[in-house]
């Protein structure tokens, strides 16, 4: 898509949302068998899976901390998650995203309960559509809870941006590409900010207003995260892995058991 003339028309964004409206969110807890905790999170066109392993032994050992757990976070984009195929493996962007995402979650984890051990968080982006880091943090936060890691609270994340001189919540890909500013934020339910990045152009007042907008978005996401966890743990007797972890719009070409 080339730059559209207008990204907001009559107060409505190109995808039909109001400025302060989040994209649709779909959450599924405990989608993986091997991981200690996991979560599939769909955030508009973003499809991410988070897995948590731990507390477990630390390799290599020199990363151990004697008085607390070490938290590690690996954000990774699948090669096929974007329009132009991405070369597999970490790049500078994913290393930075991993760092700030880890720092967004560390404050809520009771790391001191698990000295000399590791809590490993893996986030795989299966499809990317602007906002993968916030989708990853939302998913990872749930996966940590699903893994039984003691936490002070969940962490919720979304971005605020500016398009056509208007502050909007939760940028989609076009708004990210052609907008004027992007500001991903993560916070705890009591409003403590654990991730803050920004680039583009925001006046001092726009920034302050944007921060408040993000707060409302994060609180809405927090409710959905809680709901998803409660659903999972109130239905312990159900098959925990009965549905496809991601919506498909697919032509399913199979499904029967082969004997």
């Amino acid at each position: 898509m080339s730059k559209p003339e207008k990204l907001i028309e009559n107060g409505i964004r190109l995808d039909g949302r109001k400025p302060d409206e989040l994209r649709p969110i779909k959450i599924k807890v405990g989608v993986l068998n091997r991981a200690d905790g996991s979560c599939y999170f769909e955030f508009g066109g973003n499809k991410v899976i988070a897995a948590v392993y731990g507390p477990r032994e630390v390799h290599p050992r020199h990363q151990q901390k004697s008085t607390s757990a070490v938290v590690r976070y690996r954000y990774n984009m699948a090669s096929f998650s974007v329009e132009e195929r991405k070369r597999p493996g970490p790049d500078r962007r994913s290393i930075e995203v991993s760092k700030v995402s880890r720092e967004a979650l560390e404050p809520v984890i009771f790391q001191e309960y698990f000295p000399r051990s590791a809590i490993d968080i893996f986030v795989e982006v299966l499809q990317a559509d602007a906002g993968t880091r916030t989708a990853g943090i939302n998913a990872a936060s749930i996966a940590l809870a699903d893994a039984g890691i003691p936490m002070k609270s969940l962490v919720s994340a979304c971005a605020v941006g500016k398009v056509d001189d208007t502050l909007v919540l939760d940028l989609n890909k076009d708004e990210d590409n052609y907008g004027q500013a992007d500001m991903p934020i993560a916070m705890t339910p009591d409003g403590k900010i654990t991730l803050l990045q920004m680039d583009g152009h925001l006046t001092r007042d726009e920034f302050k207003e944007g921060l408040e907008m993000a707060k409302i978005g994060c609180l809405a996401i927090h409710e959905m995260q809680k709901t998803a966890l409660i659903e999972k743990y109130s239905s312990q007797f159900d098959e925990p892995n009965d549905n496809p972890p991601f919506s498909t719009g697919s032509s399913q070409i199979g499904g029967d058991a082969v004997e």
Binding site: L32, R34, A35, D36, G45, K47, I49, A51, Y53, G54, P55, R56, E57, R74, N76, A78, S79, F80, S81, V82, E83, R85, P88, F110, S117, D120, F122, V123, E124, L126, Q127, A128, D129, A145, D146, A147, G148, I149, P150, M151, K152, S153, L154, P189, L229, Y233, P244, F246, T248, G249, S250, S251, Q252, I253, G254, G255, D256, A257, V258, E259
Partner: protein, 276 residues
């Protein structure tokens, strides 16, 4: 709110390796003893596959994609297609590049970093299964001979290792290709068309445990098996690829038995899941 209400009592990946080793030994005995009685831990017959589902078009950004669940194993395969330069020795043929990583999300024993020999072997067998069966008509992937051809990237993303990644990955690759489109419009090269498929190779993997042969090994079965043999066969019932993996030798009889059963099973899977 303190969330450790949700805390599980038993962690799957524990801090105590000793108990893990003992568990492994017990599991081995358990499976071995079942096998002697002709049984498997999940009640399957020796030649029975676990429940299999294949969903396609699960990643809209990819030119083709498939999600395969085979028992507890879960893989997503994405096919990306873009124009590129042909290899000098095949100037009029498209290019297939297959990649598979065993990312640490999928198992407590997988590690970050460049692919290791297991992942490389899996990727190369999936690749040969597609390539050597001539399932894709590479000459029809040529745009301008010597200059521009379609590059087909098959990326296998393993999300959950429940055993027999080999078959899940192979099934995912062929299913994703069968629904993939050459994105000609996006590159001003005419209308989008399907990837020109000519065959539907299906990989079937058996393991040998104490002299018995079992198809579609679970993670536990795989962990105590001495050898895996993957047999890839085509629509015409002929073999297009094989790979023995593991240190136990096999007898000619064992191999011939696996080949026979694998060709039948491949036919069955093809008909149920991969008929267009």
């Amino acid at each position: 709110m303190i969330i450790h209400l949700f805390r599980r009592v038993h962690h799957k990946s524990g801090v105590m390796p000793l108990s893990n080793e003992i568990m492994a030994e017990l599991r081995k005995d358990y499976i071995y003893n079942l096998m002697i009685k002709g049984e498997r831990e999940d009640g399957r017959a020796f030649d029975q596959y676990r429940e299999l589902t294949i969903d396609t078009n699960v990643i809209e950004k990819a030119e083709g994609s498939a999600r395969v669940k085979l028992g507890d194993t879960h893989v997503v395969v994405g096919v990306k297609i873009q124009p590129g330069t042909p290899f000098p020795d095949t100037p009029d043929q498209g290019v297939i590049i297959t990649n598979l990583e065993l990312i640490p999300l999928a198992s407590p024993v997988f590690e970050s970093g460049p692919p290791r020999e297991d992942a490389i072997e899996l990727a190369r067998v999936v690749d040969r299964g597609i390539r050597e069966s001539q399932s894709i008509d590479l000459s029809r992937l040529c745009v301008t001979a010597g200059e521009k051809v379609w590059m087909v990237f098959i990326d296998v993303h393993v999300l959950d290792d429940g055993g027999n990644i080999m078959d899940a990955a192979s099934l995912g690759a062929i299913a994703a290709l069968m629904t993939a489109k050459l994105p000609a419009k996006r590159f001003d090269l005419g209308e989008d068309t399907p990837v020109p498929m000519r065959d539907v190779p299906v990989a079937v993997t058996a393991v040998e445990i104490g002299g018995s042969i079992m198809l579609d090994p679970s993670l536990n079965e795989q962990s105590i098996a001495g050898t895996k043999l993957t047999v890839i066969s085509n629509q015409d019932g002929a073999l297009s690829g094989m790979q023995k993996s593991g240190v136990h030798p096999l007898t000619t009889e064992q191999i011939n038995y696996i080949v026979d059963i694998a060709i039948e099973k491949a036919k069955e899977i093809r008909e149920k899941f991969l008929e267009i």
